[in-house]
Symmetry: C2
Subunit: 144 residues, 2 copies
DNA sequence: TTCCATATCGGAATCATTCCAGTTTGATTA
DNA sequence: TAATCAAACTGGAATGATTCCGATATGGAA
């Protein structure tokens, strides 16, 4: 499941027991069509409106959250910038431009060497962010 | 410069031509003293107040931003959670608990294998975040 | 001591995101 | 095909971390 299309995502929705609505179809369209832009909620809202006239921003947010939580897409979180969404769930590095916000997928495997990245893509790495999210030992022991 | 203390940071301030104020000294104290907690602005504010009675939250934010931009500390950015600050600028992985927000430093080198991390630390990785921030090719060509 | 660029201040503004309470609807079942 | 209801949608209000603002204070060079 490297390259997901609309049908794949709708299939996943059904599997999870989630409903397929015109709004969701339009949002999926927007996500797939603009996959390389790693669109944010605003762009998805604008794009989705072209297909389904009646989509609200609240719905776009709720839907993107729902999709993320169900593993259909990945949410790339930021601080003073809109979150962005990625349909490509495979392991890859995101090259994020501090100036223009462009996000480029980088599939160079294993040894994460900023120098290699730079040489191969022309991207200059000033700051690396490598985080693993999950559950710490203490929380795993604690019930709840 | 693996383990930074108060004097190191004040030295860096001088080097950069930044002023040393009671507020900044108190903020540096808070940063160093709570380094393993990776404190957020609120905790730094509370801690700094214990030393310097007159520090405002605005100043804390401005100062942390200033310090981050000048490379004295590293800002760990989040979406719906306070940003956190790290005095340790060496390459390391941050293990972030999704439930309690604890941030644990992980100094395992090279091949970033979630399984290894889990085995060595008892941390269960559900989500990896590896991002390189910098400048893309297009932006480098463009003037400004 | 003077001086001024830099810091600090509190309060208002920002803005992406979430919450809420009321309405609509997909899709299951009879 | 209609009835049913949990799930989804809606717009507007609320949230909350962070930034902005214009005024005031001050570190440290001369």
């Amino acid at each position: 499941m490297e390259i997901k299309n609309k049908e794949d995502l709708i299939g996943q929705l059904k599997e999870k027991g989630l409903k397929i609505t015109p709004q969701r179809a339009a949002i999926i369209d927007a996500l797939v069509k603009n996959r390389y832009e790693h669109p944010g909620a605003t762009m998805i809202f604008t794009e989705a409106r072209k297909k389904a006239k009646h989509v609200s921003l609240s719905t776009v947010y709720a839907t993107l959250k729902e999709f993320s939580e169900n593993g259909l897409i990945k949410q790339l979180e930021f601080d003073r910038m809109e979150n962005r969404y990625d349909v490509d769930l495979s392991d890859h590095i995101n090259l994020i431009c501090k100036r223009c916000g462009t996000i480029i997928d980088c599939t160079i495997p294993a040894p994460l060497e900023p120098r290699d990245i730079a040489r191969k893509s022309g991207f200059i790495v000033t700051d690396t962010r490598m985080e693993f999210h999950g559950y710490c030992n203490d929380c795993l022991k604690r019930p709840g």
